[in-house]
Amino acid sequence: MNVIPLFVAIPLAAAFFIPMVSQKFRWVPDLLGNLTAFALLVMAVSVIGKKDVYIMGGWAPPIGINLVLDGLSVLMLITISLVGFTATLFSIRYMEQYTSKLRYYSLFLLMMGGMNGVALSGDMFNIFVFLEIASVASYALVGFGCEHEELEASFKYLVLGSVASTLILLGVAVIYGSLGSLNMAHVSRLIVEQGMNKALYFSLTLLVMGFSLKAALVPFHAWLPDAHPSAPAPISAMLSGVLIKVLGVYALLRISFNVFGMSPLLANILIWLGTISMVVGGLLALGQWDYKRLLAYSSISQVGYVVLAVGIGGAVVSRGDSMTVAGLAIGGGLFHLINHAAFKSLLFLSSGAIVYSTGTRDLRKMGGLKDRMPLTSGAANIGAFSISGIPPFNGFWSKLVIIIAAVQARYYWLALTAVLISVITLAYYLKLQRHAFFGPASENNRDVREVPLSMCIPMVLLAVLCVGMGLLLLPGPRAEILQPAVDALTMGMKYATVILGR
């Protein structure tokens, strides 16, 4: 039996099954949620290195629907399920503070199913459908606490997100109107044969904007600093760790490299969006005193890094320069993407642990937590060192690759900007460490205790990943995980031939 459809089917089925279970057994949702997430993780690990196309119901594309598993999708699936699993584990105790765990897990799994669907889907319309599933679930989860602030954030997110979704739908419709097909491989082939026209450019504009909003690239970022901090911590981890990357970055890269084809113009747009996000997000994070808000702005900045690096790779591809340099830039970007998933979800989980113990998100009211919460602070410090690019943690390696690639591609000023922003990143994460963990202990925190073990385990797990993920750059693991993902993008319009098989 083919495992590919199960990535979508299992979480969706579990999402609908959980609310039907009787409320009498309170541990049932925890168990089911965690089991599903764990199963997805096992499945994701099992498909490493595989490439496959699954055709729904035997209807061959371009007429039927297909799911595509290639290097990039595998990378996404692993990231989603890994962060998803740690988040559900963390939720067991953390979500006790909220009312309905049934609904929580149900929404959570809907979101996961939607993201898996986006990562696997081989046609434009299904990307939209899965994107909407994940988005709608995330709107609800952001407002899950039902307090004033959370509902407001959720509403803003809903409005801005819906605008983006609508634009994406319009973009999909325009593609269908002008090419008569929605299968991505087929569309790609048609574009190679017929060339771009005004309608397709219009559609590309709509899609780039829609996905940029989902990826929270400046100036489409405004929803994120409200939504990510307001959500419950494990949801913040999911949103910052994977949602913006799958719905935004992944979809953006897929359509720009494989469907429409990289052009210098498109590459420049990506580079600009990435650079502006990197700078603006970094500067805004510097001024924050709210632990989670700081992390949220930092997400904007870090996603900017990813898009910038991949954009540089795209520019090299489109001008037909050395594929090694392009591979280096894209590889650096994708590596940073998974690294960011690890350390940002770690940091958001740690914010949850701190809120759980101290009841505050304000850095000025924390202090001295190093001794009170040794595990949390140890893990969070590793996360902060990673994201600031300090060796031997994973962020250092992706930073290194991105800077080297930018210089190789002759984008010296961008390399310099990336370096300067990394100094700013270091500054605000050291500020966070100093005020939360190392600085003088605050009066309020005298009775603070470490969080329960089931909340520590996911953080420690992610911290271990942050330490070890640098090993992915070694030749063996790189050929298994990163290189197939890079190849999926650098092959560009050959995507059509690979998928359609002709």
Binding site: Y201, I390, F396, V423, I424, R434, P440
Partner: protein
């Protein structure tokens, strides 16, 4: 495993092991640290005797020990051992000592890695790691030091990012990461940027201006053993090692960049010494002297003449010795007096004779008084400058004056320091200290005596021992302009001192009038105390200096604070437009969409 890997792997492995140890086994951790550090020191001596060495991996020369890295490695081993020895007693009462030894050992391993690395990426990794351990070790002193730790890592770690950029450019131009295969002329924009990036990394590490501001702060706030080990000795060694490596090996220098180095060096010397002059805290004062020392080395390397470079490197070795020694004696004083405020110190000389003598010797050494090592190394730097002048450089005189001026002011600082701490009127001492024999324990004064002894030996036998075996092999083509014969000079100095003693006693036999001590024409009354802290206060009354000091107090010369203020301006602006109003956000989207549409369709 190759022997060259041991100084890197062994301390790091043991250090990580110590990190996992529970607090109960503190004694074992201390002993392990001591044994490992002795082993590493022995190993570095052995490796030094075997040089040149290299270690290949996958056809790349990853590690290399040549004449330059040889003596730096030796110094790393020596300082590691001495600091561990000193810490055994100094850190005894502090609960964090397990972590402290873990970090200390890791730092030794990382420093060996930097010195041995022959691959730029490897160098960058170790460089970043050393910044991390610096941060962690400063932070060990507790909550009070967390701000200083943050500042140190922002500056050092930020410079590390620039270093990566420099390395990326070098790779782009040369296609290689292997240091001994690279030789890049500094001509054109890219090589200059690459050079500046790497030089800034070195500047931040040694604290050359304008990247100096973390050092005085660290010296004041963090534990003295940490300061003596890291900013005062190890970071100096590593930073100047990198600077020497890039100026001598990696890049083919040109005149302008040498000029830049000399400007940075002279500015650092003069400004840091001026700041040291008015400090009221023993540790902070020494911190500024550390910064000034960095200036001499940068100046020496900037001359580009063999004598100047050799002088800079010799100064590096010597300054690591004397600043570590000064900090360790300051630590001994702090251990007894529980304060480092010069105002509240005084009269500790008779109570702590060993510390006093050691501090005096290293103080005279740093001021460049013959026959100590400071004189020889400064003399060599001056020679380098004069040689530069003969080569047709018109500005050599400026640098020479700056260096000599700095030297004189350093002596002034040291006199004030010695007076306020060890001489002068007796300050209030803790009761249990005053009566007993208050010298610190042998494991604390032993490292101090070793270092002070080195100050003397490296001065008196400068040409016979350190220069011949350590420095000259590392710098090709050194010739001496003026030969200074330290042995004879020492003899003359000793004879002169003896003669003075004889005259003193003979003169005393005849008529000497003694009276009560008085100050400003008035006899001292009971309870009145003049600490000697205000020796040079009048310097603030000069218009130019006064303004400079006021600026420094408002940290106008601090790149960290300035950068913070500059960015704050942008941050405030950006925060103001993030008003949280939905229609505003929607309008941004619209603007973004319009721009995209224009770009794609236009």
């Amino acid at each position: 495993m190759d022997l060259m890997l041991y100084p890197i792997v062994l301390p790091i492995a043991v250090g990580l092991l110590c990190l996992a140890m529970p607090r109960r086994v503190k004694g074992i951790v201390e002993r392990t640290a001591l044994i490992v550090s002795i082993t590493i020191f022995g190993l570095t001596v052995f490796l030094f005797s075997q040089k040149p060495l290299h270690w290949m991996w996958d056809a790349n020369r990853f590690l290399r020990l040549d004449n330059l890295s040889g003596f730096v490695l030796l110094a790393v081993g020596l300082f590691g051992f001495l600091i561990v020895l000193y810490s055994i007693v100094f850190m005894r009462d502090k609960i964090y000592s397990n972590i402290y030894y873990a970090y200390l050992l890791c730092t030794i391993g990382i420093a060996s890695g930097i010195v041995l690395a022959n691959d730029l990426v490897l160098l960058a990794v170790f460089w970043g790691l050393s910044g991390l351990t610096l941060y962690l070790m400063i932070g060990i002193a507790g909550a009070g030091a967390s701000a200083a730790a943050k500042k140190a890592l922002v500056i050092v770690g930020g410079a590390d990012s620039l270093m990566i950029l420099g390395i990326a450019i070098v790779w782009f131009l040369m296609g290689s990461f292997t240091i001994d295969r690279i030789s890049l002329p500094v001509v054109g924009l890219l090589p200059v940027i690459a050079f500046l990036c790497l030089a800034i990394a070195a500047f931040a590490k040694v604290g050359a201006m304008p990247f100096h501001s973390w050092i005085p702060e660290t010296a004041e706030k963090s534990s003295i053993a940490v300061t003596a080990f890291l900013p005062a000795s190890l970071d100096k060694l590593l930073g100047i090692y990198l600077l020497a490596r890039i100026t001598m090996d990696l890049f083919i220098m040109d005149k302008t960049l040498g000029l830049l180095l000399m400007i940075v060096g002279s500015l650092t010397i003069v400004a840091a010494v001026m700041m040291a002059l008015v400090q009221n805290d023993l540790k902070r004062l020494l911190g500024y002297l550390v910064v000034a020392g960095a200036g001499y080395m940068v100046l020496g390397l900037g001359t580009g003449t063999p004598a100047g470079i050799a002088g800079g490197l010799f100064y590096l070795l010597n300054s690591a010795i004397w600043t570590a020694c000064l900090f360790l004696s300051a630590g001994a004083v702090e251990d007894r007096a529980n304060t480092t405020d010069l105002e509240r110190l005084g009269g500790w000389g008779p109570v702590m004779p060993i510390t006093f003598v050691v501090c005096l010797v290293s103080g005279l050494a740093i001021s460049g008084i013959p026959p100590f090592n400071g004189f020889v190394s400064k003399w060599m730097i001056y020679q380098g400058l004069i040689e530069l002048g003969r080569g047709g450089d018109g500005l050599w005189f400026v640098w020479l004056v700056a260096a000599m001026f700095g030297s004189a002011l350093t002596l002034a600082c040291i006199i004030r320091l010695i007076h306020a701490t060890f001489l002068g009127q007796v300050a209030r001492m803790p009761d249990e200290v005053r009566d007993a024999n208050s010298e610190v324990s042998p494991s604390m004064w032993l490292p101090m005596i070793v270092l002070a002894g080195l100050c003397v030996v490296f001065g008196v036998f400068a040409y016979a021992v350190p220069l011949k075996h350590l420095i000259i092999p590392a710098v090709p083509g050194v010739s001496y302009l003026g030969f200074w014969s330290p042995g004879l000079a020492t003899l003359l100095i000793v004879v002169g001192v003896l003669a003075g003693v004889v005259i003193y006693f003979v003169g005393r036999a005849s008529n000497v009038k003694e009276s009560e001590a008085f100050i400003g024409g008035e006899l001292l009354r009971e309870g009145m105390r003049v600490s000697g802290v205000d020796f040079y206060r009048t310097i603030r009354d000069f218009g130019l200096f006064g303004n400079a000091y006021k600026g420094a107090e408002r940290s106008l010369f601090d790149i960290y604070d300035l950068g913070g203020r500059f960015l704050f301006y942008f941050v405030q602006g950006l925060r103001r437009i993030h008003s949280g109003i939905l229609p505003t956000y929607l309008s941004w989207m619209l603007v973004g969409f319009t721009v995209l549409l224009f770009v794609f369709m236009g």
